[in-house]
């Protein structure tokens, strides 16, 4: 089975809240002292792909769209023994919405070849839009199953386990398809062996510019315009604390109930 895993590099979502700042003019988060890490759901996707390969052979390709630094995410995938890696390098620091990302990934995938399963994380830890998987499937003309946390090869297709609000759904699908991967204790990302980390530094990573996959800035502008971030800010958290006054406990309770009723009514 040939699997392709899309990896997104993001600002470390685990930085202390006080260190997180945004630039309101460019409407983007500021890197500051934060490191760049691979989005956790993308890592779950890679882990799912590795497990699938262990169970039923095949190859794994890793693909990323992002700045040159995103190569680190791909190297880590190589250290975990992905078979090949490809970076579509983005020279611009502009915000890329899910539609743009899907457009670029789809073009790259077409050039990379045929794949049975294309895996993406269910959402990214920066913007959390959760759109890329669906839009990518649309562009590739493939079915898409979301929130998958387990994949099993069966016959000429796969059996997927998908998380729903009430539990799990079991889905049988024919290949090829796109899945978005959610986290589960089964796909906690493994860590690479040290020797593999060292070897991964010597493995090749295909580096494409947008022109290599026949895309122009114009194409990206079209999808980019589909969604505009108008404003970006860190919501101010405010907590007010008021002690209800009253002569007796009963008075206080009455007053408290009245206030509560007021809040419920106004809501």
């Amino acid at each position: 089975m040939k699997t392709l895993v899309c990896l997104k590099q993001i600002l470390d979502p685990e930085i202390p809240p006080r260190d997180f700042t945004i630039n309101r003019d460019s409407r983007q988060a500021v890197q500051g002292s934060a490191n760049l890490v691979t989005n956790i759901f993308c890592e779950n996707a890679l882990e799912s792909a590795l497990q699938l390969r262990e169970r039923s052979e095949g190859e794994i390709a890793a693909l990323a769209f992002g700045p040159a630094s995103a190569e680190d995410s791909l190297r880590k995938a190589l250290a975990l023994k992905a078979d090949e890696a490809c970076l579509v390098e983005d020279d611009s620091t502009a915000y890329r919405n899910s539609a743009t990302t899907a457009l670029v990934l789809a073009a790259a995938i077409k050039k990379l070849g045929e794949f049975d399963i294309i895996m993406v994380g269910r959402e990214a830890g920066d913007w959390g839009a959760g759109q890329t998987g669906g839009l990518l499937a649309e562009r590739l003309g493939l079915p898409c199953v979301t929130f998958v946390d387990h994949i099993e090869a069966s016959g000429d297709g796969v059996t997927l386990r998908r998380q729903t609000e009430l539990g799990w759904e079991k889905v049988e699908v024919k290949l090829p398809l796109v899945v978005t991967i959610s986290n589960h204790e089964e796909n906690v990302p493994r860590i690479p062996k040290t020797r593999d980390i060292m070897m991964s530094a010597r493995k090749p990573v295909t580096n494409w510019k947008l022109s290599d996959i026949d895309l122009t800035d114009e194409d990206l502008k079209t999808t980019g315009d589909a969604l505009d971030v108008i404003d970006l800010f860190i919501p101010e958290k405010k907590t007010d604390c008021e002690f209800i006054e009253g002569d007796s406990l009963d008075d206080k309770i009455d007053e408290f109930a009245k206030r509560l009723a007021g809040i419920v009514q106004s809501a």
């Binding site: 685990e14 930085i15 202390p16 006080r18 260190d19 906690v188 690479p192 040290t194 020797r195």
Partner: protein, 683 residues
């Protein structure tokens, strides 16, 4: 006595082999005895020699001193009072008896007449007789200990039983022979052999001279056969320690309390970490054969104490068993030809037995209590880390929470995944100078991840910074430029990550031209002091307790005794045991407190781990097997109001432990700096 007075002491002697004919049979028997024993020793020596190189013959003067202290004076052995004293008696008794036998040999076989006169009376008769009795007493008491008292730490094997029996029989028959000789020859000097004369008198009371002479003859041969048998068998038993222990003590790791970890050459190493006997150094293999099975290491191991699988004694003994069964010498050639990425250990050891299971290896807190207590200088801890390395770097299979710490170290330069704090939050509103704002700071305050990124420790770090300011110390911090020293990565077993972090830190410090480093974390302290120099980072590093003691000594800080609480000090393993610093914190506490310092039963170099070293502070231990709660109980057994600590990891481990088990009792946990600052502030 009248008879004695009539004799001239200068003529005193006895005839050797007075009752023995065909003594050539003895020499004939000696040949196979020596061949069997010699082969046993040779075989083991070959196995040790197949190990990797290790430089353990430098600094001979220090090594000789070590042998004097730990072999001749039995210092380490005597730490276990009971067994130590009787082993001491056995040890010196056996040495004396061996010398006495050598004297006989010189006299009889080389024809040099030395067994005469005062030397014969005082040494060869009286002294040897008394020491022999002590040795016999030693064997008897050790036998009672083994069969009646049955301490848990011993290993109960038939071999041990037989060895004790044989030693006792050899010495017992020795005294019978002596007594009967005195009786039959009517030895005028017999009184100089007190035990001999008693046997002689007692025997004469029940048997005639003729009978005793015959008995003597048979017993003599019996004694000889048993002695030769034991000599031949010894190298195949734990008695081999008679040879290996002194050798092992001589070649001990002289630094860092025996806890020195090896460096790895990542370019050429066949395997990162060890999973095969032949990858250990010859010293590691010698260690295995030096074990006396005394069990002290396991009895002081914190993980074992709380009921975990980890047992340093059994790790050593199980590997010794594997070494016995392996044919190492012939295998070393094979491993060389293999490609690194398909390295396949010749004798896999991890998982070979329960004691060598990966789970057990990752229970170790790297406290080094085992290394410290071992009477024969065995280095259990470095071997445990060697094997962890294999699990971490070659297999990537180790406890999930340790993996999280490692990933966090890789991605964020600190092991505290999910911390809400940044490196400088503790200094908010305090005006602590950053390195870029200070011209040439006297010292760099290395805060450490534990001191900066854990809520509880912010208070301790602030206290220390306040004390420094109060003393007008020109200091600075690195702030966000600081990353983990690499200690947790190294102890968990990721040497590669350790080197990466270490090299980066050394670079940073060199860029800022730092010479002096001050830290409140013993783990950082240990890394700076013992490990960075090997990577080219030579800094003068001080633990805050030493530094504060110095500030007081030089009059920069004035402390009137103001703390009224009763304080006990918990020695952090990486301060006390690993680095021998136990006085400075006590000096400070005595200075600051009106009350006398309280000591826990286990303190100083024999302190008991808080449970947080070796990456264990990131792991949730099973609820009924928590090392910190065990240590908390030990603290609560004193009448102290406060446990003072000198380590951010100890602070949180001890506080959690005490809160979990204290019941109605109140007991605070404070860093030494906090105790001092509170006293100064009059709280």
């Amino acid at each position: 006595m009248t008879l004695l007075a009539a004799l001239n002491a200068a003529d005193a002697t006895r005839e050797v082999m007075w009752n023995i004919s065909h003594s050539w049979v003895m020499y004939v028997l000696l040949v196979p005895t020596m061949l069997i024993a010699g082969y046993g020793v040779y075989k083991q020596v070959q196995k040790w020699r197949s190990g990797q190189p290790a430089a353990r013959f430098d600094r001979p003067a220090e090594r000789i001193m070590r042998v004097i202290n730990h072999v001749l004076l039995q210092q380490a052995t005597l730490r276990d009072r009971f067994a130590g004293v009787f082993h001491f008696m056995l040890f010196w008794g056996m040495i004396t008896l061996t010398i006495a036998t050598t004297v006989v040999l010189i006299q009889h076989d080389f024809g040099i007449e030395i067994m005469k006169g005062r030397f014969y009376l005082y040494f060869q008769s009286l002294f040897v007789d008394v020491l022999g009795v002590l040795a016999m007493l030693g064997v008897a008491v050790l036998a009672v200990r083994r069969w009646v008292l049955r301490p848990k730490k011993l290993v109960y094997t038939d071999e041990s039983t037989w060895l004790l029996v044989l030693l006792f029989v050899i010495m017992g028959t020795g005294y019978l022979l002596e007594g009967w000789r005195i009786a039959v020859t009517n030895d005028p000097w017999g009184i100089w052999s007190p035990a001999g004369i008693i046997v002689s008198k007692a025997s004469l009371a029940v048997a005639g001279v003729g009978t005793l002479k015959t008995l003597h003859l048979f017993t003599w041969w019996f004694h000889l056969v048993i002695v030769f048998g034991l000599i031949a068998w010894a190298p195949y038993t734990k008695l081999l320690h008679v040879l290996t222990a002194p050798l092992n003590i001589y070649t001990a790791d002289l630094d860092h309390g025996g806890g020195t970890l090896k460096q790895i050459d990542f370019e050429s190493a066949q395997s990162f970490g060890i999973n095969s006997l032949e990858q250990f150094t010859w010293k590691d293999l010698l260690d295995l054969d030096a074990c006396t099975e005394c069990g002290r290491c396991t009895s002081v191991c914190p993980a074992n104490t709380v009921g975990k699988q980890l047992s340093p004694r059994d790790i050593i003994l199980d590997m010794q068993g594997l070494l016995d069964r392996s044919d190492l010498a012939s295998l070393t050639g094979k491993a060389d030809g293999q490609q690194p990425d398909e390295y396949d250990p010749a004798f896999p050891i991890i998982g070979a037995t329960d004691n060598l299971s990966s789970d057990a290896l990752f229970e170790c807190t790297t406290c080094a209590a085992c290394v410290e207590i071992c009477p024969v200088s065995i280095e259990q801890l470095p071997k445990i880390v060697d094997m962890r390395r294999f699990q971490v770097m070659e297999q990537a299979e180790f406890p999930q929470q340790m993996q999280d710490a490692i990933s966090s170290l890789e991605e964020r330069g600190h092991p505290f995944k999910g911390t809400q704090l940044s490196r400088v939050d503790w200094a908010a509103g305090m005006d602590v100078p950053l390195i870029e704002d200070v011209e040439a700071p006297e010292v760099l305050l290395w805060v450490g991840c534990g001191g900066a990124l854990v809520d509880r420790n912010q208070k301790s770090t602030r206290a220390l910074a306040n004390l420094l300011k109060k003393a007008n110390v020109n200091f600075a911090i690195l702030g966000r430029e600081e990353t983990c020293t690499g200690d947790p990565a190294r102890r968990i077993g990721n040497e590669f990550l350790f080197e990466t972090l270490a090299t980066q830190n050394i670079e940073t410090l060199k860029t800022h031209n730092i010479k002096n480093v001050l830290t409140s974390c013993p783990h950082c302290f240990n890394t700076f002091r013992n490990e960075y120099p090997k990577l080219g980072g030579n800094f003068e590093v001080m633990h805050h307790t030493t530094y504060l003691a110095r500030l007081i000594g030089e009059g920069h800080l004035k402390l009137d005794a103001q703390a009224t609480e009763k304080i006990a000090f918990h020695d952090p393993c990486y301060l006390g045991r690993h680095n021998g610093i136990t006085d400075a914190p006590r000096k400070l506490l005595k200075e600051v407190s009106q009350q006398p310092l309280v000591e826990m039963e286990k303190h100083g170099r024999q302190s008991f781990c808080c449970g947080g070293g070796g990456g264990m502070s990131f792991v949730d231990e099973p609820a009924d097997q928590r090392v910190n709660q065990e240590r908390a109980k030990q603290a609560l057994a004193t009448d102290a109001d406060t446990v003072a600590v000198g380590c951010p990891f100890c602070t949180t481990m001890m506080e959690d432990g005490i809160n979990a088990v204290k019941g109605d009792r109140e007991m605070a946990v404070k860093d030494v700096a906090e105790v001092m600052w509170e006293a100064l502030e009059g709280k």
